[in-house]
């Protein structure tokens, strides 16, 4: 990462209004924001809708391109674009996951995935877009196979968490699935070579893990480090042996590296690791914070420092923070105040 040892500032580019209830999550369309394609963002809300926003290239301002409504009958809690940007998955408290197809700017619901017994909390596509994972309050994690013609088939139902599963995230390069839960653990799931998925590791309090609900997790670009955040007011950094991981020679376990405590005094709902290595966090104290690995050269191992705290980023809880996938340092945040904000992190010279 280009070293900037000085101060940083978070510039608010625009506030996106339109939702009639809290906004739970945002997702940047990975096929946009590059090669002249204007950036596109999806947001999902307690108002049962999903809004798609796009940046107007000439004015640089964002507008609402589409409202995806009349499908979910309860809060839409999570949204995720497929790697091709052609499909958008939305997970809802109505226990379903809807799949929307982006047909030239118009969005059509092409499939509805049923199976969870109650609220779906998170949806995530794997790196190749061949698998979709969902999880929910019924304590299960589902893996769906993406088939031609927008067909989805349940490949596996993973049991193991003893409570509500808050989020699922695929590893950025390998087909290994991570889930985090109200049971205070992070579980790691991998295929055993026989099309069966098993829990290969559980990160619990016993191995340096969290002591309360784990709300979110995120990986660095190379996929050898992971950050998790929790109701226990800490952020934890984990790492794996990248050599062993890349060699595919058996499962490479994850271990706890560092705990960032004392920076947050209310629940941390979201963390996201940028391409450049900046970790953003969104919390219940309305603030957004940024952390980077400290280059102190400490003998004890890597440490992290907070480079910026934006105290009143929103008027209410920040539920999600997501870095854009482009070359810029744009960040989107979603809040209980019903808005989405687009920010730019700028170095102060």
């Amino acid at each position: 990462m280009e070293s900037h040892d000085g101060a940083w500032s978070l510039k608010e580019l625009q506030k996106l209004e339109g939702h009639n209830d809290r906004v739970w999550s945002v997702a940047w369309n990975p096929a946009t924001g590059v090669a002249g394609v204007p950036p596109m963002l999806a947001s999902c809300s307690g108002d049962k809708t999903v809004r798609v926003w796009e940046q107007n290239p000439s004015s640089s301002s964002w507008f609402c391109k589409a409202v995806l409504d009349e499908t979910h009958t309860r809060t839409v809690r999570s949204c995720a674009w497929s790697p091709s940007g052609k499909l958008l998955a939305t997970g809802s408290f109505d226990a379903t996951t809807a799949i929307w197809e982006n047909v030239g700017g118009d969005f059509e619901c092409v499939s509805t995935l049923e199976g969870h017994e109650n609220e779906v909390k998170s949806v995530c596509w794997n790196a190749s877009g061949s698998l979709l994972a969902t999880c929910g309050r019924d304590r299960s994690v589902w893996i769906w196979e993406v088939l031609p013609g927008n067909e989805f088939e349940c490949a596996s139902v993973l049991q193991g968490h003893t409570q509500d599963v808050k989020m699922v995230q695929w590893h950025p390069t390998l087909d290994i699935l991570f889930s985090c839960s109200y049971d205070n653990t992070v579980k790691i799931w991998a295929e055993d070579g026989d099309d069966d998925w098993d829990c290969v590791q559980t990160l619990s309090e016993a191995n340096g893990g969290h002591t309360s609900t784990v709300w979110a997790l995120s990986f660095n670009t190379t996929g050898d480090k992971m950050v998790s955040c929790s109701d226990d007011l800490t952020i934890k950094i984990w790492e794996t042996d990248s050599g062993k991981m890349m060699s595919g020679d058996g499962y490479a376990p994850w271990s706890h590296v560092c705990t960032l405590s004392g920076y947050h005094d209310r629940t941390i709902f979201s963390v996201h690791w940028s391409r450049e290595g900046i970790i953003a966090s969104g919390a219940a104290d309305d603030a957004i914070r940024f952390f980077v690995e400290s280059k102190d050269g400490s003998v004890d191992g890597p440490s992290y420092k907070m480079i910026l705290r934006n105290e009143k980023a929103h008027d209410m809880d920040v539920n999600a923070v997501r870095w854009s996938l482009g070359e810029n340092r744009f960040l989107a945040s979603a809040s209980d105040d019903g808005t989405v904000k687009i920010w730019e992190l700028v170095p102060v010279i």
Binding site: T213, D315, M316
Partner: protein
């Protein structure tokens, strides 16, 4: 509703006398008075117990002293004491407190609800549920639960809640 009450004979306490609020000393009509303990208590005292025809104040489930408020930091913590240790209505009561405050306080407020330590068999589990915003949001999308809460919050005898 359960046919057998969990606590058939609750102890009923006398309601605390309602202190009239003194007129603001400052003549400026735009001054916003900071929210204090009494104001929060006034929002909560008349909430009905889900099982008995008494208010949470009358059953001493909540007291003025069990409310900690810091208006300058927009923070409030309410500690409530269920009438019996194994009260299964504890979650409902906690939800009622949360909903009433959500509807009554400015949106800048951060609210923590907890059971008085030592007063309930599964207090850690109940506290965790009551303070999980996502669980609370999902619960409040359940019409049956909302009906129960609204009944507890409904004013009695024409006294505004």
């Amino acid at each position: 509703m359960v046919s057998e009450l969990i606590n058939a004979n609750p102890v009923v306490y006398e309601k605390k006398e309602r202190r009239a609020r003194s007129a603001p000393s400052c003549a400026d009509e735009y001054t916003v008075e900071p929210i204090d303990q009494l104001e929060i208590f006034d929002h909560l005292r008349d909430i009905k117990d889900p099982e008995h025809p008494y208010s949470l104040e009358e059953l001493k489930v909540i007291t003025e002293d069990a409310i900690e408020v810091d208006d300058s930091n927009s923070y409030v913590r309410v500690t409530f004491t269920p009438t019996v240790e194994h009260c299964s209505m504890a979650t409902i009561i906690g939800l009622c407190l949360r909903v009433k405050l959500m509807r009554s306080l400015p949106s800048r407020y951060k609210v923590d609800i907890r059971i008085a330590p030592g007063s309930h068999a599964t207090e850690a589990a109940v506290n965790k549920q009551l303070n999980d915003k996502e669980r609370v949001a999902a619960a409040l999308e359940n019409p049956n639960l909302v009906d129960m809460v609204d009944e507890c919050l409904a004013p009695t005898n024409g006294l505004a809640g």
